[in-house]
């Protein structure tokens, strides 16, 4: 089967050689050992730039391939890899934090910091997974949410520090540019460590593939083996993160390709995956070199691998075994149920209106707080009202979309963020920013709407297959999100003002909202609410699964398509205002359910009210926290949402 890899290897070698020979004819190549004192500039560029770069691509690819293979084997999850489990994003957040908060930490090199971040992210995701028997879908959703949260926090810090951190964004993309041979030495040592560890773990891992009980019965200490294996995988991934930055999806692609080449047994998979990973990354880097020669190095190699990741996930999804034990994808024990929800709903509505009024009335002035008198109230109202309406509507729309998705998929972790619509909208926005010479607000809105719609069509096409479990919708959405983040990091890596504009939009802001825009958003939210109430009988039956729904004569495909479209349109509209990430769509339906709103109509209505309130609070906080400067609304909301999310996932099950 390795013979089938030969074309790939030849392609990688040819691409590198082409770049090298283009730099310097073979006759002038420096002699070994390299001595900078006796070399001219092109020779140094080759000997200390391109040569180590070619080898680093091989080494990093191998390390990532091995890391992904170990994770997939130990978690028995064919879509596990350092990216989907949030490990790489954790390393990135740690590095950004260290750069801003404690630069002295970086004196000892990036490695310890990246390791700590990656370890914490992996620990969090595994802790969440352990409470749900490592159910594959939940693991990936938890990993992606942890990754998104880390990304949001990193973005917040980047924004707060202005352009000087933008160089970090380039690091995020995973550039393979080398200046000496230190990277080669470091990654070679890591790869050697990884190979030895994998060889030692191969047999226990094979026993573990029988499942927990089976492995325990054969005398394997499951917890220790898991911990060791995941630890090795985390070290491998974090090493690449520290050395090169975020190189997404090589760890996903390599084992997947190894499997299609027929590597069924675990030792085979562990040997073949690094080989394939090395070749994949080399080919990607060769392609980057090829374009760099024409137009200058436009984007880092990691962005290119990110582009591969999305389609790859979509291709892998139907192969994912769907047989998670029933109940393991559920988040927590039974929520209370209120028999008479009307007083609660009325109370929520009244509280929302009162809060809105109060927030219009009071504000921060230099040196303290002020309550507006009647005259200034009249003056401030036209300024404050649109953004209040817009924030409430966006919150309500996201919350309803979240409630619909959670009921549709019967998965409490479903939320608009993972539907892929936001990612699509971000791609559309970025496209307009880069393609139009002077983009207008209308063009930008239209662009993000179009992007969201395309993502929605992709996901819907996936859902329309009847035998597809609804929870896979989430994975399709995650695939689209992954694709979007690949495109975005490529766009950001250019590092000019346009990148900063996209970054600012990604974090969301309500400051530029006009009254017509706010009213339009309110109309969308109201339509969505009406639509959800109309479909409340579907929303009652769908959580019971396809068997019951089909037995009752529910038009399954139509219902799924209609509800996904409803949620997608609402998410797209709200995303234009608050950016792609806020977690309101995840939090509000949960809070409504924990408050005892069980019937679909009450649930949706309560979620909408809570979502509006949350976004109102986030808007107030965003305006006040950094007074006189405004923090981005979506970012502030996600900083509230992330701890909630983590708390929610850590709750014991039953």
């Amino acid at each position: 089967m390795t013979a089938r890899l030969l074309p790939l290897a030849l392609l990688a070698a040819a691409l590198w050689l082409w770049a090298a020979l283009h730099l310097l004819p073979l006759a002038q190549w420096p002699a070994w050992p390299l001595d900078p004192a006796r070399m001219d500039i092109p020779q140094i560029l080759l000997g200390f730039g391109l040569m180590p770069r070619g080898i680093v691509a091989l080494l990093a690819g191998a390390v990532l391939g091995l890391s992904g293979a170990i994770l997939q084997v130990v978690l028995r999850n064919p879509v596990a890899d350092p990216t989907t489990l949030g490990i790489s994003a954790g390393a990135q957040l740690a590095l950004v934090t260290a750069t801003i908060m404690a630069p002295s930490l970086l004196e000892g090199g990036r490695w310890p910091v990246a390791m700590a971040g990656a370890g914490m992210a992996a620990g969090l995701v595994l802790l969440i997974g352990a409470r749900r028997a490592f159910a594959p879908v939940t693991m990936v959703i938890a990993g992606m949410l942890a990754g998104m949260t880390a990304g949001a926090a990193a973005t917040a810090m980047t924004l707060a520090q202005g352009e000087y951190l933008l160089s970090l964004v380039i690091w995020n993309g995973g550039s393979l540019v080398q200046q000496d041979w230190s990277g080669v030495r470091a990654l070679a040592a890591v790869l050697a460590f990884g190979m030895v560890a994998a060889a030692l773990l191969a047999r226990p891992l094979r026993v573990l593939s029988l499942g927990i009980q089976g492995a325990q019965g054969l005398g394997v200490n499951v917890a220790t083996v898991r911990l060791l294996a995941v630890g090795v995988a985390v070290i491998l991934a974090a090493a690449v993160s520290a050395e090169l930055g975020l190189i997404a999806f090589v760890g996903l692609a390599a084992p997947a390709l190894a499997r299609t080449l027929g590597a069924v047994s675990i030792p085979r998979l562990l040997t073949l995956s690094p080989l394939i990973g090395a070749l994949i990354l080399s080919v990607c880097d060769g392609l980057v070199l090829l374009t760099a020669d024409r137009v200058g190095e436009m984007f880092p190699t990691g962005a290119l691998t990110g582009l591969i990741g999305g389609p790859l996930l979509i291709w892998l999804l139907p192969r994912l075994r769907g047989s998670t034990p029933p109940g393991t994808e559920r988040a927590e024990g039974p929520a209370p149920r209120r028999d008479h929800p009307a007083p609660l709903l009325i109370g929520l509505a009244v509280a929302l209106v009162v809060t809105a009024l109060v927030l219009v009335w009071i504000g921060r002035v230099p040196g303290g707080w002020a309550v507006l008198d009647a005259e200034s109230f009249a003056a401030f109202l036209p300024m404050r009202l649109p953004r209040l309406i817009a924030a409430c509507s966006a919150g309500a729309a996201l919350a309803i979309a979240g409630a619909i998705l959670q009921r549709l998929t019967a998965n409490p972790l479903a939320s608009p963020e993972v539907l892929g619509v936001s990612g699509g909208a971000a791609m559309g926005y970025a496209g307009v920013v880069y393609l139009a010479a002077a983009p207008t607000a209308v063009a930008l809105t239209a662009g993000s709407m179009a992007g969201g719609a395309v993502a929605l069509v992709l996901v819907a096409a996936f859902v329309s297959r009847r035998d597809m479990p609804a929870e896979r919708v989430l994975l399709a959405g995650i695939a689209v999100s992954a694709l979007a983040s690949g495109v975005l990091s490529a766009a950001m890596a250019v590092g000019d003002t346009r990148s900063f504009q996209i970054l600012a939009w990604l974090s969301g802001s309500s400051s530029a909202v006009t009254m017509p825009g706010a009213l339009a958003l309110a109309a969308v939210a109201a339509t969505l609410w009406a639509g959800a109430l109309t479909a409340r009988r579907w929303l009652a039956v769908l959580p019971l699964g396809a068997g019951v729904a089909g037995g009752l004569g529910l038009p399954l495909r139509l219902a799924r398509m209609a509800l996904i479209a409803l949620a997608g349109v609402a998410t797209g509209a709200a995303t234009v205002l608050v950016g792609p990430l806020s977690f309101v769509g995840l939090m509000a339906p949960h809070m409504a359910r924990r408050l005892g709103l069980a019937r679909p109509g009450d649930h949706v209505t309560g979620a909408a009210l809570i979502g509006a309130g949350l976004m109102l609070a986030a808007d107030f906080g965003a305006r006040m926290a950094g007074f006189p400067y405004e923090l981005p609304l979506g970012l502030f909301a996600s900083l509230i949402g992330a701890p909630w999310l983590i708390w929610l996932m850590m709750r014991p099950q039953r």
Binding site: P326, G327, R330, P334, A335, R337, D339, A410, T534, A535, R537, W538, A540, V541, P543, L544, G545, A546, G547, V548, G550, G551, L552, G553, L554, P555, R593, A598, R599
Partner: protein, 255 residues
């Protein structure tokens, strides 16, 4: 008129054929057991009848091809209960039973007095009226199964398809649920097709038995035809002994 007329029914999954050109007719107004070893295709057959999975060949329900039925019309005539009914989180028994009215009022139609009366009758018939306000996930296994049965009763369908309705219950609840289904058939003129593992339960409660083996039809007939050592050995691939109880009814045990 036959309840189901099945002709040359074949179901394939990638790499395997689950049902091999099955041809049989199921009689109406009876309690019909579908039995067979694990992987014999009995659940597959039931899911085809419930229109849950596609198949080649022709199946007619009440002399109309399955594909000619509109989804809601079909649900009005036939109720299906999957093998593991989900947890119905946060739902009361009354709300669960009321879902059975969906084929009649649809997504938007009014839930009228008739619907309320039907739900109340269904709960009465299945003996869950006392739990009407309780949450489904707080009930015991037998109570929960009766609540789900009440949902199918509220569907007012003449035919019930039940996929291993007793597999998760203890022996007392097994008898209780099967006796209820038998009553629903014989007193209210319904038909039922039930996938059963337990051959003695099938013989004791059902009027008609269809046995599958490896995706082929192995037997169709009454309980008396089934309870023969040679027949049972052919179905299960295991020597079986049939004893006679004091009241004359047969009991099968592995020989």
């Amino acid at each position: 008129m036959n309840l189901f007329s099945i002709t040359d029914l074949t179901v394939d999954v990638p790499g395997r054929r689950l049902l091999h050109g099955l041809t049989l007719d199921l009689p109406p107004g009876q309690m019909i057991a579908l039995i067979g070893h694990n992987g014999s295709g009995k659940s597959t057959l039931l899911k085809v009848l419930a229109r849950q999975i596609p198949a080649s060949g022709s199946v007619a329900f009440e002399n109309r091809a399955l594909s000619d039925w509109r989804a809601r019309d079909y649900a009005r005539r036939l109720a299906f209960l999957p093998q593991h009914p989900p947890a119905a989180e946060g739902m009361t028994v009354r709300e669960l039973v009321a879902l059975g009215r969906y084929p009649w009022h649809g997504a938007l139609g009014r839930f009228g007095p008739d619907d309320h009366a039907t739900v109340a009758r269904a709960m009465e018939e299945c003996g869950v009226s006392l739990f009407a306000g309780r949450l489904v996930d707080t009930l015991s296994g037998g109570e929960r199964q009766r609540a789900w049965l009440a949902m199918t009763v509220a569907q007012q369908a003449g035919t019930l398809l039940l996929d291993e309705p007793i597999s998760a219950l203890d022996i007392a609840h097994q008898v209780e649920v099967l006796a209820l289904v038998r009553r629903m058939c014989h007193e209210a003129g319904r038909s039922a097709v039930i996938v059963l593992h337990e051959v003695n339960m099938a013989a004791r409660f059902c009027d008609h038995v269809v046995a599958l083996k490896g995706g082929w039809l192995a037997l169709q007939g009454g309980p008396a035809d089934l309870m023969q050592p040679a027949v049972l050995e052919r179905i299960y691939g295991l020597p079986m002994q049939v004893l006679t109880r004091p009241d004359g009814s047969p009991v099968a045990i592995p020989a």
